[in-house]
């Protein structure tokens, strides 16, 4: 087992593989590319949230013969973009279900002419009544999707919740709401598509999952595997936002390319990107919790509902992860979670870092502080009494068989943040200070990789080969979009093969060149794909030992010479591996029972927040993040992931509000959708504890999503500590603080021991 071995490259902070290209301005993003004879594309979109298209008219003052116009009738295959359920058209055909739904596409050699032409397409509708909230959708008075508006539901049950209430010493209820959130990757969505009779469809684009786009193009164009090619260009941030949407944009550009006979570039501007692409699902979570006289959890009943928007997209899997993260890192014998994702006539919601977990964790961890207050217990003590430990089972009755250290993480977080001393200091000072300070905590986990048997279904294939130039190449479809895929996978291969970091390169993320090693999502790259590359590398060494006289120990030069001998005798040299599940994995998709994730990353986050009761602004003054994420492969990048995720989490809690009116985002500009700036982000103190996970790449577990789960509840818990007022919705803007502080009498705080 490699995980405890001393390593030369894994665990060190080598320079980012593509770092120099990015720093000198040479990295090629899609908008930096041109193709010979390239035209530009634009999209005519629905201006109403729901209705029938009565007519489409073209302004006679525009010479339409200069334009290529594509409608649903031009689609050679199926008019469907299918992620999970086949409900979303590539182009609306007769009916629209949300504002900004694409109806018609235009291409022209001059992008400035397109803007004018967009205004020259007049669409008339027969409007139908829309649904804009979870509450309206669940009433089912008006059905806007399927038979019942229900995109997906889950029921998770453990023990016997119903009989537990009678035995409870305390029962605490609460409702918690979270808003939408925009990814705000700084590079907008964009693709270039090209069509030729011989090669059919090629798409270059800013995207996370080349094989998702590949699948969408095959369906829309009705093409076999060898007639579609997708290449990821350098991608300027994604955060889940480029998991699903690029499939739509790629199909649009490819339809225009085919009809126009020219390569077509479609790069959204910021206003279009904000208005039309997916966001984090808004959610409403209701908790009813029973505790025994010792403050131990007896029963948890959770109702978790999300707004999925007009089409199913990834709402079912987001709901799944929300369900499986809704009960927190706590031991509870009786649990029932009822989860529903409801259709509305909003722009479809989609994947965003955390993927349902931030909503569920916000509710659970805010609720824990309310439970603590109701019981007169310190919030730390309540958590400590109920933590999961090795040998316990979680809500899906997964046995916690890996070593766990929640208590130690908590101790470390309290010590590093000086939590108790600060809390009492602030309690003393707040009485005579208009700026009220408080400390808040969140305890949480994040499951690494696909849920349940998801990784088995993916059946990822990845590996390494050796080029004629003597370079080892990593062959995966997992993409780099800032998080460090290129660097960590080459570190893993170099480490396992016993060669240098500079001896290993990444194969281009091009479906003609790399196998499908699964999507770059779900905090799976380090753990699952990293393990594939580690295994493929070890398999390559065995092959060279058996067939090219590689010694039991060898130098880098001997390794490269053995590769050359093998190539001379056998031709190509490569080593590929399929995913193998760790032993003893059992998951029941119907009952939501069993091993929900292969591994979990665990964390305790602490926020210090100041609330100004004159200006009603809340400021995070300091932040501590203690986590156990398995082996840390690259300390600088790992810390960078945590810090970036926390900054997004701070935005989620205090700044970022998607303002909707009649189904349309009205603040679709960076001027009024506000993310934290360099002046807003507090000092962030990052601490890792390492328990290598034996089935992850060199012991790694997932890391990318974890840091978005904890900041929002920690911050709102700190605001409660500072002000005595319990806020239960995010984003919490100054106007919300004003309303809450002005309206509420401070909550009666029981005296702490």
């Amino acid at each position: 087992m490699s995980t405890h071995a001393t390593t030369r490259i894994v665990g060190t902070s080598v320079p980012r593989k593509e770092g120099v290209d990015k720093l000198v301005g040479r990295a090629c993003y899609v908008d930096d590319m041109e193709r010979e004879g390239m035209w530009y594309g634009a999209t005519v979109r629905s201006t109403i949230p729901r209705g029938l298209i009565r007519s489409i008219a073209f302004d006679r003052r525009i010479d339409w013969s200069q334009f290529t116009v594509v409608t649903a009738a031009d689609i050679p295959g199926e008019n469907i973009i299918q992620l999970i359920i086949a409900d979303q058209p590539c182009l609306a055909d007769g009916k629209v279900n949300h504002c900004e739904e694409p109806i018609l596409l235009l291409a022209h050699p001059d992008k400035h002419k397109l803007r004018e032409a967009l205004g020259g397409v007049k669409i008339e509708y027969d409007p139908l009544p829309p649904v804009f909230s979870i509450e309206e959708s669940e009433r089912q008075d008006l059905i806007v999707w399927g038979a019942d508006n229900l995109l997906k539901s889950f029921l998770l049950e453990k023990g016997d919740v119903d009989s537990a209430w009678a035995r409870a010493a305390n029962i605490v209820e609460g409702e918690y709401c979270t808003g939408g959130q925009e990814h705000l990757y700084i590079e907008n969505q964009g693709v270039i598509a090209e069509y030729s009779a011989e090669d059919e469809v090629t798409v270059w684009g800013s995207l996370q999952c080349p094989y998702y786009v590949f699948k969408a193009l095959r369906g829309v164009f009705d093409l076999p595997e060898d007639k579609v090619r997708v290449v990821q260009t350098e991608t300027g941030g994604a955060f889940g936002g480029k998991e699903d949407y690029p499939s739509i944009l790629a199909c649009h550009a490819a339809l225009l390319a085919k009809k126009s006979g020219h390569p077509v570039k479609m790069v959204y501007d910021r206003m279009e990107d904000l208005a039309v692409t997916t966001k984090r699902h808004p959610a409403r979570v209701r908790h009813r919790t029973a505790l025994d006289k010792n403050g131990k959890l007896l029963a948890m009943e959770i109702h978790l509902d999300t707004d999925g928007g007009a089409y199913a997209t990834l709402s079912s899997t987001v709901l799944s992860r929300a369900t499986l993260h809704s009960t927190g890192p706590y031991l509870c014998p009786n649990v029932r979670v009822r989860a529903h994702s409801w259709a509305t006539n909003h722009v479809p919601y989609g994947a965003f870092r955390g993927f349902g977990a931030p909503q569920a964790v916000f509710a659970m961890e805010r609720h824990m502080d309310e439970v603590a207050a109701a019981l007169g217990l310190d919030p730390i003590e309540l958590r400590r009494r109920n933590f999961l430990h090795e040998g316990d089972t979680n809500a899906t009755e997964q046995l916690m068989r890996e070593p766990m250290m929640l208590d130690q993480l908590l101790d470390r977080a309290l010590q590093e943040s000086d939590y108790h001393a600060k809390r009492s200091q602030f309690a003393r000072e707040n009485a005579r200070n208009p700026v009220k300070r408080g400390m808040g905590i969140a305890a949480f986990y994040h499951g690494s990789g696909f849920t349940g048997s998801g990784e088995l279904y993916l059946n990822s294939l990845g590996g390494v080969d050796v080029t004629p130039e003597g370079k080892v190449r990593v062959l995966v479809s997992n993409t780099e979009f800032g998080q460090g895929t290129n660097t960590i996978l080459t570190q893993i291969a170099a480490e396992a093969l016993g060669i240098e970091y500079s001896d290993v390169t990444m194969a281009a993320p091009d479906t003609n060149m790399v196998p499908n090693s699964g999507p770059t999502v779900a905090s799976r790259t380090s753990m699952v794909v990293g393990r594939l590359i580690e295994r493929a590398s070890l398999q390559l060494i065995s092959l060279l030992r058996e067939q090219a006289n590689l010694g039991a120990t060898y130098t880098r030069e001997e390794f490269l010479a053995a590769c050359e001998r093998y190539r001379a005798a056998h031709g190509e040299l490569s080593s590929m591996c399929h995913y193998e599940a760790p032993p003893g994995i059992y998951w029941d998709d119907q009952k939501y029972h069993g091993e929900s994730y292969g591994a979990y990353a665990w964390a305790i986050y602490v926020a210090q927040v100041a609330v100004d009761t004159v200006t009603y602004s809340a400021e995070v003054e300091d932040f501590w993040a203690v986590q156990e994420v398995g082996r840390v492969l690259h300390p600088v990048m790992a810390a960078g992931q945590i810090e970036g995720g926390i900054a997004q989490g701070i935005g989620y809690a205090l700044y970022e509000k998607v303002v909707l009116a009649d189904g349309r985002m009205t603040n679709n500009q960076m001027t009024n959708y506000i993310m934290p700036t360099a002046e807003d982000v507090p000092p962030i103190h990052v601490y890792f504890e390492e328990i290598p996970f034996r089935y992850g790449g060199f012991g790694a577990k997932g890391i990318g999503e974890l840091p978005h789960d904890g900041p929002a509840p920690a911050i709102l818990n700190a605001i409660r500590d500072a002000t005595g007022v319990s806020f239960t919705s995010i984003p919490l803007l100054p106007e919300d603080l004003y309303a809450g502080l002005a309206a509420s009498q401070p909550v009666e705080e029981p005296a702490l021991p």
């Binding site: 720093l23 000198v24 934290p676 360099a678």
Partner: protein
């Protein structure tokens, strides 16, 4: 020439002359064309990025006459006679600029799309404040949005570059934060 065969510069428009990265350039383009588009489309300097088109994100930051400007908000006529520096002008003779080296070593770049603008903002800051305080670094970068890093490692990179400029410029080894270490901006 652009991809559809028409000249990107057109003699029909008056010539506008300015210096970019030390080279004198002349373009014949509509005078209200954005400096950002002239750099990217006419001069093929695609290192400068567009993030929002309204001066909020700073991805298109360039230095013009010793001021940091959002090139999406500058009509090119305002650049007549100006001295402009873009990210392509930072590295000299294949040697990374101390800021680029510091960003590489300290994890200051992740997805890289804000990086060119961030580097120009940092270069502007260090040109006027060779040894900035943490507050000055934050203020100097406040017009440049980064969605990946949470800024922490960018602050560290700028501080490291400021430190490097007074001692040995090149660092051989990567800065290793210890597992136990506090990683924050100060």
């Amino acid at each position: 020439m652009n991809a559809n065969g028409r000249a990107r510069t057109d003699a029909h428009w008056p010539a506008i002359r300015f210096t970019v990265n030390g080279e004198i350039r002349t373009v014949n383009v509509p005078p209200m064309k954005r400096l950002l588009d002239v750099l990217r489309e006419d001069l093929h300097l695609t290192g400068t990025k567009e993030g929002c088109g309204e001066g909020e994100c700073g991805s298109c930051s360039v230095r013009m006459n010793d001021e940091l400007v959002n090139s999406c908000l500058v009509p090119v006529l305002q650049a007549e006679g100006a001295d402009i520096q873009t990210v392509e002008g930072l590295a000299l003779d294949g040697e990374l600029h101390p800021l680029q080296e510091a960003f590489l070593q300290n994890g200051g770049a992740q997805c890289g799309i804000c990086t060119p603008g961030m580097l120009m903002a940092a270069a502007q800051l260090l040109a006027h404040r060779p040894h900035p305080s943490e507050a000055e670094i934050r203020e100097g970068l406040a017009g440049n949005l980064c969605r990946c890093t949470g800024f922490v490692r960018i602050f560290e990179s700028v501080a490291a570059a400021a430190g490097a400029s007074e001692s040995e410029p090149a660092k051989e080894s990567v800065k290793e934060p210890k597992m136990e270490q506090t990683n924050h901006a100060r």
